[in-house]
Amino acid sequence: MAAVTETVDQVELVEKYKYGFVTDIETDQAPKGLNEGIIRYISAKKEEPDWLLEWRLKAYSHWLTMKEPDWAKVGYPPIDYQDAYYYSAPKSADDGPESLEDIDPEILDTYKKLGIPLHEQEVLAGVKNVAVDAVFDSVSVATTFKEALSKEGVIFCPISEAVKEYPDLVKQYLGSVVPYSDNYFATLNSAVFTDGSFVYIPKGVNCPMELSTYFRINASNTGQFERTLIIADAGSKVSYLEGCTAPMRDENQLHAAVVELVILDDADIKYSTVQNWYPGDENGVGGIYNFVTKRAACRGRNAKVSWTQVETGSAITWKYPSCILQGDNSVGEFYSVAITNNYQQADTGTKMIHLGKNTSSKIIAKGISAGKSQSTYRGLVKMMPKAEGSRNYTQCDSLLIGKECGAHTVPYIESRNKSAKIEHEATTSKIADDQLFYCRQRGISEEDAVALIVNGFCRDVMQELPMEFAVEAQKLVGISLEGSVG
């Protein structure tokens, strides 16, 4: 295809996306607060079928009976759920800053350190009227994606689109892993979720490329209540990347996302996250509250799921990506790096629920605390009576930088099957002065030395990340810990 034609096609594609939003943009924003009316409004705006509205309403009335959980080791002022907008159309490009000069210099500094090209910086920062040819690279990637994916029958689209185009699939699986009544934040999400990703990998298909929200260009503004559903049909395989190492502009403080993964016989999902939401300033003012429910159901035999997360952002992180190992021989893995600095608080970990025979799980969790932050690993390993011959290996390592931070490990282990094997190892260490001096004697600055040592500490997790993510994630580790020593 001639380059010109290709360009025209891409421009059209982007225009279509914009156009798709226009109807939304022109509509009003729902008033503040949460009630049945708002939920009906959201559902109507999205032209949803009745069953989905019913489901949202059931979730809402259940949510009213629930209490916000307080067992996590995080503290924050009470959230006024009536003092928030639950539906605002995607921001029009005209609301964006005029140019990068209007962006917080600190954010620009981070972009620079991450080595993000100028045009991509503009997109991330939401600069208005960024010319299409300026973001040509990412657009062209998106286009190539679409073509290659549709050839294989892979569905990758916003979940609101999937509700319309593939209602049977959505109806069959939505809420099947995280039911609407699951927990306070997931229930809230079920009632008011605005958008998110939908992925279906057909039987026997090895998804030809890594799926990334970064390149799903219409993924921006999915808002604070994101809902993602990924189904890997029998014998299929997919790697999904969520998030982005660069801090995204976001004005919503409360985030409550839900991610559901369904893995059938012999299928395999690798789900990688880099979370870098605004953590608040060095005095602990501002920052995102991130309450996420992520769960994978290995329904089939030999199903496999692997969660890898690098969590450096948010003022509060409350997140426990879990695996329900139902199919015999199914495998669940959880690799996590959680970095907290200044006044950040992270309570994160995983749940491995072994139901089927010979299921196995592995947990590698690395927590790094600096400044006055608190980091908690909270995990559950549960062997059910039928989990004959199942095994788990857990390793939790904490690294402390400075004297005012805290690291906590709260492992819950429950075995109801005598043949099951569970191993748990935990360590806590500090960056030693002699390590820092050794690096500095070799010409490495103190900040670079901290980044180097911490990256070494996280290596087992970092090497699970897809290549293109890993390099940026390593830089991000250094950036997150800036100012933590000296």
Partner: protein
């Protein structure tokens, strides 16, 4: 002759205890000086003070390095200026491959010196020029810095770092400790290969045996925080025979 290092009346303490008590030492460009002395004389303290380790407080005296006030500089600046310390006890950094560490180190120093940084391929070539003589294989470069290294491997890795950082003043703090005869020969030959008219060395050791390989121009005896005797290489041989008993009295 150009002066490399000029230490005058150096006093330093660790905590409340004074360790260096008026040390004077002058090293010319391209010279190899050995410092010998009994345990507790202040040999390692001298090396840490020169490298700028925290907790080693200079209370008086001066140190000029290539005419600049060394004591004013941060440790990484000193490294950039060409001061290298081969550690007596090299430090482990779990999870960081030796290759990665070398690259971070060399590129930091090159950046400081206004030279271009190496990319991964060029760096590999550059390092391989040095690994042969030290009998260091690629597998060792892949292992985490000093983690699980034998005594000999640790010291060879120190000399490799010295080779790639191309210092102008190399301080070797008991680089011979914990080495068997073969390892001593490899390390000794490795260091000797790095001798040049532009590079000075300060070799701190208990024993004469390392000096069979790295032949010193000047030998000093350090006792109780001061240089108490200075001679040529024969002084080291004498010390090996007679020990430090005489100097203990001098110092007292």
């Amino acid at each position: 002759m150009k002066l490399m290092l000029e230490i005058k009346n150096l006093h330093a303490k660790v905590g409340e205890i004074e360790i260096l008590k008026g040390l004077n030492l002058t090293i010319g460009s391209g010279e190899v000086h050995a410092i010998m002395g009994p345990n507790g004389a202040g040999k390692s303290t001298l090396s840490y003070v020169l490298a700028g380790r925290e907790g080693y407080e200079v209370t008086s005296g001066s140190v000029l390095y290539q005419g600049k006030n060394l004591l004013d500089m941060e440790p990484e600046q000193r490294a950039g200026e060409g001061v290298f310390l081969a550690f007596q006890y090299p430090v482990e950094i779990p999870g960081v491959s030796t290759m990665n560490f070398l690259k971070a180190s060399v590129n930091s120093v090159r950046k400081y010196r206004g030279e271009s940084e190496f990319d991964a391929m060029d760096f590999l070539k550059f390092v391989r020029q040095q690994t042969k003589i030290l009998n260091i294989g690629d597998d060792m470069l892949k292992r985490a810095v000093n983690v699980g290294f034998s005594g000999g491997e640790k010291k060879r890795a120190e000399v490799l770092q010295m080779a790639v950082l191309e210092p102008t003043l190399a301080i070797l703090d008991e680089t011979d400790s914990g080495l068997d005869v073969d390892a001593l020969r490899i390390v000794g030959e490795g260091v000797t290969a790095l001798k040049s008219s532009e590079r000075s060395m300060l070799v701190i050791t208990h024993y004469q045996r390392l000096l069979d390989y790295i032949v010193p121009d000047v030998v000093h005896v350090l006792a109780d925080g001061k240089i108490v005797d200075t001679g040529d290489k024969n002084l080291a041989i004498e010390l090996e025979k007679n020990g430090y008993a005489n100097y203990a009295e001098v110092a007292a």
